[in-house]
Symmetry: C2
Subunit: 193 residues, 2 copies
């Protein structure tokens, strides 16, 4: 597939494998945003998830926002992004989930105002990375509490060896990852396909 | 102007004025993202700033990212977003600026990797809010240190009574705000125009 190949090429040429199994993709996804590339990602998700009646895209700040925004333009739906570690008092009732981030080595609180998730929602979740899937599980839990359904999950980079993706697929979710990485041993990225 | 009127209408019907002079626009700009509306903002900024040779859009996570992403699609340039309070060690050399946030009542550190700002850059800065302008001044300082030029600044909502915008205009910057709020006394939004 052209788009998945484009992404793999970008990961190989621009990604940097660091200690602790962190893949840095700052040059196009996490600090600098390559908009032409993200446009291809958005088109890919549109092609894969259209026709499912999706009425909302859910993601997590900050790295998910650009991906969600571009995908939402093609699906003509709004975006809701979960906030991390909101310090000010929120006036609205909220869903809160604790999520351990192995990359950041700390717990984050993910927060979504209840009024932005509804029982009639047919949701597409998108995010940049999927490893153990803790953040994704937190979003799934929120949608479930709201009574909505998750029609699809679109991930840019999945680290399959960390198991989160397969666990979530076994629960019956329609989870698609553009690039699947099966190993980063010795600093070398190996794709699953 | 149709787009500025659309925005003003949204602020009046969906915005909420809270204690401490905070205008909450969670329903379309800061938590839920109204993509059709943001698309109009992006087109407006494109119309106002095209032809200036802009090669990069600079913004701040998280609320600036969606605006920057959509504007960047129309101007065909990449985005760089300043990170807040990066806790992990950054392997790259960075520009760091301390910014006091009156809304959050704390200091934030804004961080941009030096390699993503260059002396040849012609930059458009976009952001959701402009009040005292501390965050914006931090971005201007970074671009200046990198030797680049700021060709334009596009703001969605400016609180003119807090003075940041006029101060920056007096320095000669091409600063444009879609909606200018001159007062929020007694919880009522009054526009400057």
């Amino acid at each position: 597939m052209r788009k998945t190949e484009l992404l793999k090429q970008k990961i190989l040429t621009e990604g940097k494998v660091e200690e602790g199994g962190v893949l840095r993709v700052d040059s196009f996804l996490n600090h600098r945003l390559d908009i032409e590339f993200l446009n291809e990602v958005g088109l890919y998700f549109r092609d894969k998830f259209r026709g499912l009646g999706i009425n909302k895209i859910l993601t997590i700040e900050s790295s998910g926002i650009a991906i969600a925004t571009i995908t939402a333009q093609y699906l003509h739906v709004p975006v809701v992004f979960a906030k991390k570690n909101v310090h000010i008092n929120l006036p609205d009732e909220v869903y809160i989930e604790d999520v351990h981030s192995f990359t950041q080595k700390k717990n984050n609180k993910l927060v979504v105002a209840k009024k932005y998730l509804n029982k009639d929602d047919k949701i597409l979740i998108v995010d940049d990375f999927l490893a153990k899937g803790n953040a994704l599980k937190a979003l799934l839990s929120m949608v479930q509490k709201a009574g909505g359904t998750v029609e699809g999950i679109g991930i840019v980079i999945e680290k399959t060896y960390q198991g989160g993706g397969d666990e979530i697929r076994k629960q019956g979710y329609n989870l698609l990852s553009l690039a699947k990485i099966k190993s980063m041993e010795n600093g070398t990225v190996q794709f699953a396909d």
